[in-house]
Amino acid sequence: MTSLTINDTPHVVEVEPDTPLLWVLRDILNLTGTKYGCGAGLCGACTVHVNGIPERSCQVSIGDLNGASVTTIEGIGTPGQLSILQQEWVACQVAQCGYCQSGQLMQATALLQENSAPTDEDINAAMSGNLCRCGSYPRLRAAIHAAAKRMAD
């Protein structure tokens, strides 16, 4: 049994402790915005925040999360109330198939929380674990810069 907070809501999950957080989110809590891409920490599609740090949820066991605070894509904004980063994602028309985008947004949100004015090199360092088979990288980069600029203004 694991007690944790997800998107500010307390949850008690009863499942084998070695179950990856990814599958708890998707299959048990129906938070399907977080995606499975590789199950091996290679693609970043499953990225969420655990206590504010971006983590690959396919690599985190639920048993290790007692008392933890988890944020998923559903927790950073909604269609009616987009975060600044999500607004810039829309303005730059970043997403193509969209499947990697939850992970990209979670990774980029964490980047901007830590570094309010990232350089291209900072963006490369933070984002290169997140694969996009559609090649949305040029727009992704533009959206991160645009959001950083807006947050600074």
Binding site: L31, Y36, A40, Y99, S136
Partner: protein
Amino acid sequence: MAVGKILRRGFLIGSAAIAGGVAFGTYRYLQPFENPLDPAAGETTLNPYILITAAGVSIITPRAEMGQGIHTTLAALVAEELDLDWQQVTAIHGPPAAAYLNASAMALGLPTAEYDDRSIRRVGKGAVRVAQKLAFGIQLTGGSTSTTDAFDRMRRAGAAARMVLTQAAGKRWGIDPILLKTEAGQVIDADGRSLSYTDLAADAAQIIPPADPPLREPANWRLLGQTLPRLDMVPKVTGTARYATDIDLPDLLCASVRATPFAGGTMIGLDTNNANTLPGVRQIVSLGNGVAVVADNTWIAMKALDQVDVTWSPPAYPATTEAQMARIESAFDTRADSTLRDDGLAEVVVEAARAESLSLVEARYTVPYLAHATMEPMTATALFKGDQLTIWCGTQVPTLARDTAAAHVGLDPDQVTIITTFMGGGFGRRSETDYTTQAAQIAVALPDVPIRMTWRREEDISHDFYRPAAIARLTGAVGPGRPEAIDMAVAAPSVLAGQSNRMVGFAPPLADKLLVEGAFDQPYALPNFRVSGHAADTGIPVGVWRSVGHSYNTFFLESFLDEMAHAGELDPVAMRLALLEPEHTPSARTLESVAAMANWGQQLPEGTAQGVGFCHCFGSSVAQVVQVSDVEGQISVDHVWCAVDVGQALDPGNIEGQMESGILFGLSAAMFGQITFADGVVEQSNFHDFDSLRMDRTPLITTRILQNNLRMGGVGEVGTPPVAAALANAIFALTGQRIRDLPLANAVSFT
């Protein structure tokens, strides 16, 4: 079974129509298809593309949204003519139906050069459309055809609906409809009174729509030609877009699949005892050539697959990459399956070059098998209840997915409902039906239980319908100032034969265009030019992969042209321009444009070089220049310039996005993509050994869109073909090393 019969008979009609005699076909063609929409109480449908509800107008966009932005562009076609504001537009995929079949797609298989109107007229594009309507009736998203296919049809749907809505308003007010105008989903009279489409829909449905409503001139367009905000953007940035792997139903169970590692093989022994006892495992289902584990969650299902004890029949094909390539090479010894270009006396000139003053160039090129590796692995959700099967899936071929699944589980197609979801990438992979049929099999084995099936990434990489490995043998002769001849032979497993066999049970009796496209059909006025294709039977399943034959033939031909330019001491751009100009002006302008963008011919800094590549494909002309630099002995890919002539640019922002996407897809493959075999098994398994470009290695990309081509071309696949050759040519310019085998990373290292 029933499917096979219908399709087979259909195909024969199709062949007859291609050969001539379309009177019967023409008659049938003029009959409108039944409107497949089934409006609920209070809803009205005016034609297969328009559903009007209390909330407003929903536009049916019956092509699969794989990331290419097609829902947005198709919806804009209707909205333009119907006078909807963009904020009012909603799009839904709609049901699989004959009304939505893709009439343009079959023309792709025709042995004609697309840039050449004369050759298309000879075969008769119209005849083919009729043939396809009668025959395949396949609702396909592929071949970069969606927009060209819909361009007239969906605008007319919007225009016809606008006319009947206006007439309905005129009747209600007793005013001549000519005095009424439409705006933002309303009909408005001279005094400013207004009636909403929702209000008028039921009346409008009683009026017979015009068969051939006039369409607006492009100069008057409000939406088309503009970059529109994508309709799927907000759902995709908030995690609320639903893919087939996200469907939530009460009491749902999760499944994953492990099929034989030996393509085409079967399971000859199965022991489920170990796996059955694992906590959370509910059932193990035999699929004939594999097993599915159904469990409480996906993780348990994926893990338990390895505990199932299975014996597979051994591979019935050459079991190593070397043996595979040898099998492909041996196809050169057989008669060519397609020689779609044979101008002048290519072999004679090449022969003469051996003796005379012409420079002789000879080369052998190879490319490997490639996986699609869509970001979302193969997934589907299915429920069998009563005698009805419902499948939620991301598919490029909903009618085929329905019919194939039905045949496999012994249902009639009308007992199967396909609900097409967003898909996490397609690239051609989702034009196959293996995974949708698996979901059907599992659901039928567990009646009344919704099953959500998600493949492991390892299954996805190792159970693909691969881009074929291919070999080219080229000889060429360059005279003073210009190339005189190219004789090119290509050997590869046939995508056309493979996919047709899976769809209809036999290969079509047509020359295999896909084998040689990107070579024979290029608008080069080369006086002596022969291209022949040799289909190889390798036993490895092959399928369409973003840009199909162009993905390898463009690499072969454009690299070889570069070799010829260097042998003849010609500038690679100028040499191509001289060949394009007399044959196809828009293509010449495209190449010229990219050369100007990249400032081709300038003095580049030390350790920097450029390479060029060109292709005419899917009705568009595309040219690219790649710039590379030497960083301590490693190659850095710095910039890609791309000029593309799409004839008519409906959404420039989306076209630019598709070029970037296609270029990065092609670059990833060219730099490090390969699927190899050992002991009959695919050696790659996940993104560590089948990787793609990441953010840090993504070059700058600059795109310019041109509109000189007379007809509208496709965009989804067009960015991919030229980039491999442009990069290899740049590496040659930088290092003097000519790399003739992909991936390039086997020969050089990248930063």
